[in-house]
């Protein structure tokens, strides 16, 4: 599915609905089964960010910063919700007129015209809007891991608000809202480009612009509580069924297959990372198997509506092994401090998934078929590559400019004393653990 069942025609229906409600109701049949599943899926995706991702990240930082990352995830959840209601949803999914290939319009700002009676596909538009909102929440929250333990909270809020507006909303529109990438026939079922490559490349840029944490990489910075991390990773795994199977926007066979391939790829990636580490470092680690699972979830995200079980297995293995090397070797080789491996897991996993989707979507390989206008695997791979490169370039460049501007205006980084003391006390006057 390239446009999340919300093509321009649907927007036109929305206008028709306002003019002639009786006619619109006859055309848009609300399905209670689809609606029930999508309300559930929406809750599952929110559950991924709070508490899933919050715990996953909180366990990996040092104890003096445990609250700061949870605070960042929680505040992003609230901020993205309000911005999505104000204009984000409209920019992403409303028809943008002559600018429609690039960005949506403001016709649904403040959810104007979104009422109890408006329908999107077979579900209430309120449900569609809120489901998409949970994606707009988790994507910026993912970035938090890259600049953990050193960014000013105020700068983080400014950055995330602006980033959601000029990076996330347009990119979401490009792929799902009727924009140009959707027209290219790109296959991105649940957000390999929009969510993961987008967050991953922004994370890398942020890690480089902010600079390394004081003492990195010579000082030991072990995770303060891997129990929290494993609990968080497990919640992410469960919540991801809402993310992937929910992206079908219906309770049907494609959603069922998305559910199955999500489970298969995740398990394969967890094992892939575990065995890679076992072989190269002699011991299988808990942090490793949990991170491998996340890498698999990321990689199957763009593929989940298009590939079959065998494709999922191979995508999972590729993600587990590939992200292991990206997070352990490549990061060390280049020396950037992507603290919690947002790039190594989300960008690398997203790219692996986005490209392999172009192969395993083929019906001959057990997939559901290639995207519109792409007759062969080579053509589909080309479309996938365009999507990957466009995301990397647009998100990377705009994020870089945003961060540089914010750095010169308000400063991005806490001072050295605050960093040494820990952000919990320095920025929030609180401690995570009073033992």
């Amino acid at each position: 599915m390239t446009t999340r069942k919300f093509p321009a025609a649907m927007a036109a229906w929305g206008i028709a609905a306002m003019l002639t409600p009786a006619l619109a109701e006859a055309q848009d049949a609300l399905d209670s089964g689809d609606t029930a599943w999508m309300i559930t899926a929406t809750a599952l995706v929110l559950f991924m960010t709070i508490p899933g991702l919050s715990l996953f990240y909180a366990g990996m930082v040092r104890s003096k910063n445990v609250l700061s990352v949870m605070m960042q995830c929680f505040a992003i959840t609230a901020l993205a919700t309000v911005l999505w209601m104000a204009y984000g949803y409209s920019l992403a999914f409303e028809d943008g007129g002559s600018l429609n290939p690039l960005v949506g319009g403001l016709g649904k700002a403040f959810l104007s015209g979104v009422t109890v009676d408006t329908v999107s596909g077979t579900i209430p538009e309120t449900v569609f809007m809120t489901f998409q909102m949970t994606f707009a929440i988790i994507t910026p929250a993912l970035i938090v891991g890259a600049f953990a333990e050193r960014m000013k909270f105020s700068a983080m809020l400014w950055f995330m608000g602006l980033w959601l507006t000029i990076v996330y909303a347009p990119l979401c529109h490009w792929v799902w809202g009727g924009g140009w990438l959707g027209d290219w026939g790109i296959l991105d079922f649940a957000g390999g480009t929009v969510v993961h490559i987008n967050a991953g490349i922004t994370g890398l840029v942020a890690a480089i612009v902010l600079g390394k944490r004081k003492g990195y990489p010579t000082t030991a910075m072990p995770p303060n509580n891997l129990v929290l991390t494993v609990v968080g990773a497990s919640m992410l795994w469960v919540g991801w069924f809402g993310f992937n199977a929910g992206s079908e926007l219906a309770a049907d066979g494609t959603a069922g297959m998305a559910l199955a391939v999500t489970q298969i790829a995740t398990a394969a990636a967890a094992l892939g990372w575990m065995f890679s580490e076992w072989i190269s470092h002699r011991k299988p680690s808990v942090l490793g198997i949990a991170t491998g699972a996340i890498a698999g979830l990321v990689a199957i995200t763009p593929a989940s509506g298009s590939v079959g079980p065998f494709g999922a297995l191979l995508i999972g293995i590729a993600a587990g092994v590939g992200c292991f090397f990206a997070s352990t070797r490549i990061k060390r080789a280049f020396g950037y401090d992507d603290s919690l491996d947002v790039f190594g897991v989300h960008a690398v996993g997203g790219i692996i998934g986005a490209l392999l989707t172009g192969i395993f979507a083929a019906e001959a390989l057990g997939g559901a078929g290639l995207g519109e206008g792409n007759s062969g695997i080579a053509g589909q791979l080309g479309a996938q590559l365009v999507g990957v490169v466009a995301t990397l370039v647009y998100s990377g460049v705009v994020s870089l400019v945003l961060l540089k501007v914010l750095d010169s205006v308000i400063g991005l980084r806490v001072d050295e004393e605050a960093e040494t003391e820990g952000l919990d006390i320095a920025l929030h006057d609180e401690r995570g653990y009073i033992l």
């Binding site: 990489p217 030991a220 910075m221 995770p223 680690s285 490793g288 070797r329 060390r332 491996d341």
Partner: protein, 112 residues
């Protein structure tokens, strides 16, 4: 009177306590400590980042006893704490000049 200080592996604490009770030791003080000897530390690995942990967790037991009990105490601790692997710990013996039981005012042997 003697003070016996034993540094042992944490998981051997219960065995040592039982062995000491059997030879008649009436009380002890236990502290969780860190340190290193020939065992050195260990390494931890998180997503490819390797950290050397120099100090290994141990348990320190302090026992105040009559000098007559010293050999039995040393034997009990040695037997109970031994795994024959590196890092089993050490026993130090010091002289003890005076002891007072705070509740009653009893002194020396009566106070142990």
């Amino acid at each position: 009177m003697k003070i016996v200080t034993a540094i042992i592996k944490p998981f051997k604490l219960d065995d040592v306590r039982e062995a000491l009770a059997e030879v008649g030791v009436q009380g002890m003080t236990v502290t969780e400590v860190k340190g290193f000897g020939r065992q050195k530390g260990h390494t931890e690995l998180y997503r490819g980042a390797e950290y050397v942990v120099d100090f290994v967790p141990k348990v320190k037991i302090e026992i105040a006893i009559d000098s007559a009990l010293l050999d039995q105490v040393i034997e009990a601790v040695t037997k109970a704490a031994r795994t024959e692997k590196i890092g089993d710990g050490k026993i130090f013996v010091h002289d003890l000049d005076q002891a007072v039981r705070i509740r009653t005012g009893e002194t020396n042997s009566d106070a142990l």
